[in-house]
Structure formats: structure tokens, C-alpha cells
Symmetry: C2
Subunit: 181 residues, 2 copies
């Protein structure tokens, strides 16, 4: 959880500019999601807020789901090596052990990422907080076999998991619309 998680009451009182500032990166580099979801307030709790983001992603056409994936950095890729990831991505990739790969593991991931991006036209996205590096490497190899449309949906579902965990960092999970917490 973040240092100063918000109560759902505070979230529900936000104007859209403040809401976008607070939640504009729960979907990496895609503030449109927060900008769209604001209309669904009041939110019952953090999980309901996460569902609203998930529903918006689900309703996007395939091109939009692919677009969301293209706004993500390569896992353990160039941005990470250059230290230019968002703070959220840096923390998530570290939790999966991606910052302590051996040279051989890094090379394998680079090669798989390259084949993946060439095949699909968007980068491999996986919820790093729910997977360690071995599972990620295995997942990359397996998902390379998917059909493009299937894979855009699989990737978007991972985005939804990342988004939910980021929201649970930002909003108190036990804060409810109808309770005075």
C-alpha cells in the first residue's frame, strides 16, 4: 500500500482534474482510462473502482486494447536499463526479480521480447507482482504461440490486474461508500 492511501470518500469528492492526476497512471501512460472512469462515481470501494477501470478496458475495441499495450515499456528492456521507467513499473519489475537477472536470463528475455513484439506489434505485458521471473519467461514463450487477437485480450487482462494492484496501493481497501471509515 502507498504511504497515504485515500479513503473512498475523498476519491468520490474529487473533480475530474484531481482524479486524473491521482489515477492517471494506474493504466501505464494511459490517462484516458481515469478520465473516462470518473463519470462512474460514486465508487463503493477500491475494488469497485478497479472494476470500473476493468470494464472500460473491456469495452475498448481491439485496436484500443493493443494501444494500451503499446504504451507499456518492454519488460526488463531498454527503459529499465536506462532507469526511465515510471516509479510504479520500477517497483513492480523489482518485485518479480527482473532487476537481478543473470546475463543469460536477460539475453533470453530480450530475445523472446523481440520475437513477441515482431509477431504482435505490441510489447509483452504481464502482471509482474503476481509472477516471478521464471514464470514470466515461461509465460512469454507460451504466449508467443497465441493468435494476435487472443493475445491482445490476454495482454489487456494483465493490464487490468496491474491496474487493480496499483489502485489497492492508492485507496484504502477497507474504506466503503456506506460506512463512516
Amino acid at each position: 500500500m502507498g504511504d497515504n492511501p485515500l479513503s473512498i470518500h475523498v476519491v468520490n469528492k474529487m473533480g475530474y482534474e484531481e482524479f486524473i492526476k491521482s489515477f492517471g497512471n494506474v493504466v501505464e501512460h494511459c490517462s484516458l482510462c481515469a478520465a473516462a472512469v470518473w463519470r462512474e462515481r460514486p465508487f463503493r470501494d477500491a475494488e469497485n473502482l478497479a472494476s470500473c477501470f476493468g470494464d472500460f478496458i473491456d469495452r475498448l475495441p481491439i485496436s484500443g486494447k493493443e494501444g494500451i499495450l503499446r504504451l507499456h515499456p518492454d519488460l526488463a528492456g531498454r527503459l529499465a536499463q536506462a532507469g526511465q521507467l515510471t516509479s510504479e513499473s520500477t517497483r513492480e519489475q523489482a518485485s518479480a526479480g527482473l532487476n537481478t537477472m543473470t546475463e543469460e536470463e536477460r539475453q533470453r528475455m530480450t530475445n523472446l521480447n523481440k520475437r513477441y513484439t515482431q509477431k504482435f506489434g505490441f510489447p509483452f505485458v504481464i502482471c509482474a507482482r503476481e509472477n516471478k521471473k521464471d514464470a514470466i519467461l515461461r509465460g512469454l514463450g507460451e504466449r508467443l504461440e497465441n493468435a494476435p487477437q487472443t493475445e491482445a485480450i490476454t495482454g489487456a487482462n494483465e493490464v487490468k490486474k496491474i491496474c487493480r494492484l496499483r489502485l489497492l496501493d492508492l485507496v484504502k481497501p477497507d474504506s466503503q461508500l456506506n460506512s463512516p471509515l
Copy 2:
């Protein structure tokens, strides 16, 4: 037109990261549009590129159209007065004469903008390069009467006009996929 407009051949050879960097703000603060549209390449010419952006905006659910509007600054509003608009918005608002309003005009626009945002939950967006300040003030008053769903679509159609003019600044209008220009 911009200083160094691109030929459509150069655009069609861009990887998605370069494409998003070049066209990520043709829809204000909404790089998802460029990220989604990249899959439609090769583009025939600048107008075809603009149509692809327009089609993507059309296919968004109403919540997404509203979200795009929420990523726009208030016309002649706080950001403009603080000099924090994107360079594209600064130029466009100046072309409509919004930077030379009298105090009375500015007050009228502020009041109308406030009523508009309160009613619809998103800011008033109009293609400033196709309208002078009198037409904009009149449009604001008229569009305040619209139903919310109608107005989200009207606003999104203005976003498409702004987007097209920004693209025609960036890409040579006479450069064609099937000609060696």
C-alpha cells in the same frame, strides 16, 4: 504547416514508439489514440491518417469520448493564464483571438465554461482554428442547451477537427503512398 513536415513514406516506416512520439498529442494528452491507430499503417496520405484517428474516436464508447474531452484544457482558462498549455493549444487559442479578449469577454467565457463543465462533467472543446472568439462564445451558449450524450459526440467531433489540422501540420498533405513524392 510545421517546419519539417514528414512524408507519408517516413510515417509508414515508423515503429510504434516513434509513431507515438510524433503523433501522441494530435489528440490532446491522449497518446492512446496514436498507439491504437499505428496498426492501420500503411496510410495512403495525411487525410487517410486523419480518418484513422477519427474512426478510432468514433468507435470509443461514450465514456471514452467524454474522457478525451476531460483531457483537454478549458478554453482561455486557468492553464492558458498560467502559460501551461501545450504548444499546439497555445497556437490554436491565439489563432482564434482568445489571447486578446477584453476583460468583459474573458469574464463571459469563464462564466459560460463554468456552467458548461458543471452541466456536462467535461470541458467545452471547439476547433479554435476554425472559429473566432465571437463564434466560440456563441457556440458555448448554444451547446449548453444540448443533451449530455449529444454534447459528448459534438465535442468528440470538434476533437477530430483539431486532430486533423494538427496532422496536416505534421505530414506533407501532397505526399501519397503510391507516388514517389
